[in-house]
Symmetry: C2
Subunit: 743 residues, 2 copies
């Protein structure tokens, strides 16, 4: 036996096949590519023969119906839009909500006879398919059952009015409608024309819809309201940021559908609010998938817009949809605000919430570690975790058929990318049931443990010995998740919803929940170091930016003996992420307390010390640590002091009537002893003005500016105009004016 084949190589250590890779197709893998674009579509043929044509083609089909006109908008615009609560959308197309009937009018070439057979066909995406719910034929004749109920609601000569009720779980997006007439020779259809496109949205008013919300004021707020307030600052000195969600603005709905197309989310998943919100939480940030917003916390916003400068979502969404590249820049409230627009625009009830002292980037651990030197002073090179002054996320409302009963309702979704944790995996978060979080039921998807840690972590202070050994010396169980706020429905006040996330501190329910959470693998600090018998309290302060002020440290000796406290007062300029930019002050007083004595230690904070270090949102963070000489016990206290910015003055004047021109005047006086350079002012108003901006290269110290714009209100109602001023030396200066437009 011989070896007739020519051999070439026998390699003991095979090397990598190099060179170009072939474009991998779906051949052999799937029968058809998955439809994942709402903007692509397959055209359905105008004539679909049942039989082969004769030698002279098909006979003339004059005896069968012919369609002269299909009217989806003009005649029924007001009726459909009002009944479906879509009248605010600035769009040329029919927009309806699923699970609720809408009307179209069809004009035939002759009066309709009951034996005529025709169908309306709704089609979405490529390769429309009956079983996937992407091709829905409707037979308005009574004898045929359609997946979406259809009925003739009026017959008038050759004009038929047809009522169609899309299923309450149908795909959400842009459909095309065909009218098809059955003949014995084949199906004759209308040509594809964009006038027969329509949008079908989620419907919080339909009890059969997964996003049904049985509370009209909440629906008005969480679906219809375009103007929002997002809270920031500190829990004891809350600041407001006004935002124009703009979900009804021209082009915004298309931008939201583009986001889903861009994510390659299969069309068939787009009727499920769980999948839509989870996918969107990934897609709102640019990590991994070239999503909408580029995060940037660095202070350098070259080639983009500073996160503090935006006044609303419209500009961001339209820019993303037209440029098809991520938009710079976002921090947490920008992610939450644009996500809110996306959700409200598609009809999913949603709101932005703010959690004060949010444990972050720690992968669902229930511990935030602060390391102290042996002498009690904070060890900044070894303290890696941060507690955000605040963090914003979204809640959206839906049932959770994927979970056991009881976990529907508000669900946390968060589009801000988390830095620690699952790296590439957790640049999305939620939906996580708020009720599951409150009750510590952390075994249910998605990411409930992560949100639980954001509101429930302990702050653990460790003392680090010279040899590297660590010893926990204090555990603060009440600092994190101090308060959760959202805007109240129907007015501009705030609503404290902390109790929806957790039971009151110190109750037995709270302890039970924390134990349950540990049972699901959330690690807590177990040691309970002895509490010091000296209390330390920092005051609540309201300080204007540029002011000197006094910080009064309250020491209280609860023991019957003298106590000497060696304290370290560290004043830091911090980002809102809790990350320290610069330590501008360090004092090391020794405080002697007689038995049961209270002493206030006054510390003067001079503006010249902190002004030159200021970043971003102008917050100062004071950490006071101390060691009791007699006992070695450690005291700690932390406080964020928000520096109040000057305000922009926004004044509106005019007739306050639809279609009559009005004027808005934005005014600012530079109150500082230094000039402001590279200043952007942005302004917009829900339903009255699209986003505008103006650039000032320099505003000298003490000087003022006035910017006047004219606008024409398009619709009646109460709304607001928001403006921001932003420059590298001074961020998040804001102003707003309320106005009520008469019809």
């Amino acid at each position: 036996m011989t070896d007739p084949a020519s051999t070439v190589d026998s390699s003991p250590a095979p090397t990598a096949p190099t060179g170009p890779r072939p474009k991998v197709t779906n051949r052999g893998r799937t029968a058809f590519a998955v439809a994942s674009s709402n903007s692509d579509s397959t055209e359905v043929p105008e004539f679909e023969p049942f039989i082969a044509p004769g030698p002279r083609g098909f006979p003339p089909m004059t005896e069968f119906l012919d369609i002269l006109e299909v009217d989806m908008v003009s005649k029924f615009e007001e009726i459909n839009k009002q009944e479906h609560r879509t009248e605010f959308y600035d769009s040329n197309f029919l927009i309806v909500r699923r699970g609720q009937e809408f009307q179209v009018k069809i004009t035939f070439n002759r009066p309709y006879k009951p034996k005529d057979k025709f169908a309306l066909e709704f089609v979405i995406g490529t390769n429309p398919d009956y079983n996937k719910g992407t091709y829905i034929p409707i037979f308005p004749n009574k004898d045929r059952k359609s997946r979406w109920p259809g009925r003739i609601t009026n017959t008038s000569d050759s004009v038929l009015t047809i009522g169609i009720t899309p299923l309450a779980n149908c795909i959400v997006g842009k459909y095309h409608m065909y009218v098809a007439v059955m003949t014995p020779f084949g199906i004759r259809r209308t040509k594809k024309e964009s006038t027969r496109d329509l949008y079908i949205l989620f419907n919080p008013w339909s009890p059969a819809d997964d996003v049904f919300l049985d509370d009209e004021p909440e629906r008005q707020e969480c679906v219809i309201n375009e103007t929002g307030i997002i809270y920031h600052g500190a829990y004891d000195d809350v600041a407001e940021r006004h935002w124009n969600y703009g979900q009804f603005n021209y082009g915004v709905l298309d931008a939201c559908l583009y986001i889903m197309d861009r994510s390659e989310m299969p069309i068939t998943n787009r009727g499920d609010p769980i999948k839509v919100t989870r996918k969107a939480s990934a897609m709102l940030n640019s990590r991994d998938d070239d999503g909408v917003l580029v995060g940037n916390w660095s202070g350098d916003y070259t080639y983009g817009v500073a996160p503090t400068s935006w006044t609303g979502s419209t500009e961001i969404l339209l820019t993303y949809a037209s440029s098809k590249t991520p938009v710079g820049y976002a921090q947490c409230w920008v992610y939450a605000a644009v996500f809110n627009t996306f959700l409200r625009c598609l009809g999913i009830p949603s709101r932005v919430v703010t959690n004060y002292y949010s444990a972050h980037d720690n992968d669902g651990n229930l511990k935030t570690d602060i390391i102290l030197h042996e002498n009690g002073k904070i060890d900044r090179t070894r303290t890696r975790d941060s507690i955000w002054n605040y963090h914003c996320w979204n809640e959206c409302f839906m049932t959770r058929p994927d979970l056991p009963a009881g976990f529907g309702g508000w669900q946390v979704v968060d589009a801000t990318p988390q830095e620690t944790s699952d790296a590439k995996g957790l640049y999305r978060c939620g939906p996580a049931s708020v009720l599951a979080i409150k009750h510590g039921e952390l075994c249910y998807p998605f990411d409930a443990g992560f949100v639980f840690a954001e509101v429930n972590s302990d702050v653990v202070f460790y003392s680090r010995g010279k040899d590297g050994a660590m010893q926990p010396v204090r555990v603060n169980q009440t600092h994190v998740g101090r308060m959760v706020l959202t805007k109240a429905a129907g007015d501009t006040t705030r609503r404290d919803i902390t109790s929806q996330y957790k039971f009151p501190e110190g109750t037995s329910e709270e302890r039970t929940v924390l134990e349950k959470a540990e049972g699901f693998g959330c690690h807590r600090e177990k040691s309970r170091p002895l509490e010091a018998d000296v209390d330390l309290v920092l005051p609540t302060l309201e300080v204007a930016i540029g002011d000197d002020f006094e910080l009064s440290l309250g020491f209280k000796n609860r023991s019957d003996q003298q106590r000497v406290v060696e304290a370290y007062i560290s004043g830091n300029v911090v980002y809102y992420t809790g990350v320290s930019s610069a330590e501008f002050m360090l004092r090391e007083p020794t405080v002697t307390l007689k038995p049961n004595e209270s002493v206030n230690e006054l510390v003067v904070v001079e503006s010249k010390k902190y002004m030159k270090h200021l970043v971003e949102q102008a917050s100062l963070h004071f950490i006071v640590t101390g060691k009791v000489k007699e006992t070695g016990q450690i005291l700690t206290a932390m406080k964020v002091v928000r520096l109040h910015n000057p305000k922009l003055s926004v004044k509106v004047s005019g007739a306050n009537r639809v279609s009559e021109e009005m004027m808005v005047m934005v005014e600012f006086i530079n109150p500082f002893s230094f000039a402001l350079a590279e200043v952007y002012i942005r302004m917009e108003g829900a339903g009255v003005m699209m986003p505008k901006f103006k650039y000032y290269s320099l505003i000298p110290k003490g000087s003022s500016l006035i910017w006047t714009e004219f606008f024409v209100p398009k619709r009646a109602g109460t709304t607001r105009v928001f403006a921001t001023l932003d420059c590298p030396k001074l961020r998040q200066v804001q102003g707003e004016a309320s106005l009520t437009i008469e019809p």
Copy 2:
């Protein structure tokens, strides 16, 4: 009041900021970047002063200990490796398992005194941190508590033996060890040297480890066994594919750590088997993240290796780690096999399982739709779903502290990217508890519903009317998930584990589970069309490739009346994914059955019809549908016929002793009437031979080849040598030989 500022622009429709984007840093966002690379590390200083040095530096520190030698391997190699069951790893480093003591020997410059203070420091990744578990100091003196217990096990002159027990939940990966001596002036350390690197792995032998598996034969199979069998073919004609997992081969462990580094998985997550397996299921495929394997089902394997050609995982993993680009090509069993190597290499018990008739790419729906024309013939242009002939995934063993009690044990993980479903989201799958799948508890993470559908979907046949209306005409509840197989522990037989995934068909438990699954949002077909009173059965066949054969269709009339069946017999060449490549045969017999009569209809299948269409794994798929004239009832039957390939002959000869040269001879005769071109033969053997290959440009018809190689067995034991032959015209020809090496 004037406007002193120079204004530049006031734009009513703002445009996108264009131009380059700045590199976004973690500044302002996090205090430190997250450590996510095991190969990067921070060097710990050789001297860490406690106090400032005097004008002439520090005094000579002769009175303190100095370290002369640290011995981690040579002296204790056998003891440590055998006790930790790591003796098979081909590595120069110490490899141990967590939760179990190992020994190192330190030689000081003088005898050790109890007052000497020194520590062993274990460090992994950058920015080592005590609280993150990436910096672990160990104080062997009895008076100090260490996170990892450490003790002096022997003192002999100036040589100390120290036993260290890494925590059973510590990070898995490559650590560096320092020895540090405390002096009053500072800490004096050993220099960083790679001889003091060690690997710590998961430990299925430690009851405290999350991957503890209390079954020695299973541990030997699922952690230690390098040679595997992966089942394919059809449930009634099972085929075997031999595979060399090669988890102990030189470089494989480093390649596995590289995979985690490449995924940017934070170091701190690498002790958690849930996170490690979930991340790896994403990282084994190249979608999204440039992971290990490029999927390709197309038949065109230019620039890569055909999936059917691989003999083991070693070549793939070493190529990925060295080229740092994804390796082509994989289909499901390649993903599962390489994932298995990854898991066993890190010490997580795992096995490859095969599910026959696997519902796929359907996003957790419990329905696979097949569309028929009104006359009962299959409508290929509208049938989009496919049922894979088989699908392979992995099971790994671990507790699930994130879930309620009872869902630990075997967990499904699947690295094959799913095409439908969550698009970019579901290119990973699991871990999903097998017990939760069996009991329909689909609300628990991760992806249990998806796997449930793979074994439990119904096949629904629809009849499509001319006007597009669909009507379900038959529901087959037993086709999908027909059998689940894995290799039995300890031998080469197969083990049917179907009952671990589902209750027997038709039992009340099965119905309860399906109802529960529906409660969690899995949609099933509700209608139950009348069963036909004519049965149709296809035979089980064993057919060699190239043979003509007969297909005998058994019709049985169960009624007391005559039945006439108009049948359509469609013969297709299919990929193993169930996707049809070509219909090579269509017969339309009419079968007349007397009351209660059984009739066999014989159909001859000629090889010349199917041979020219063959793809890949040479399977024929027969779908028979029929319509009963009298009742309109629909009959269906489906059958996969696997065409048996010729075998490779593999013969081993020699002394069968460690370190003595042996010979292996691979022989193949081309039995076909055509030549085979571009032929690769690959061969490897666990513990005896690294992968080798040989290329033959042509093997003429009827001619034979012989390839002879020599090898030197490195260790004793029973093992196998596997070989494959692969060319575009003939794929997955295999052969293997077993051999037992004496010490």
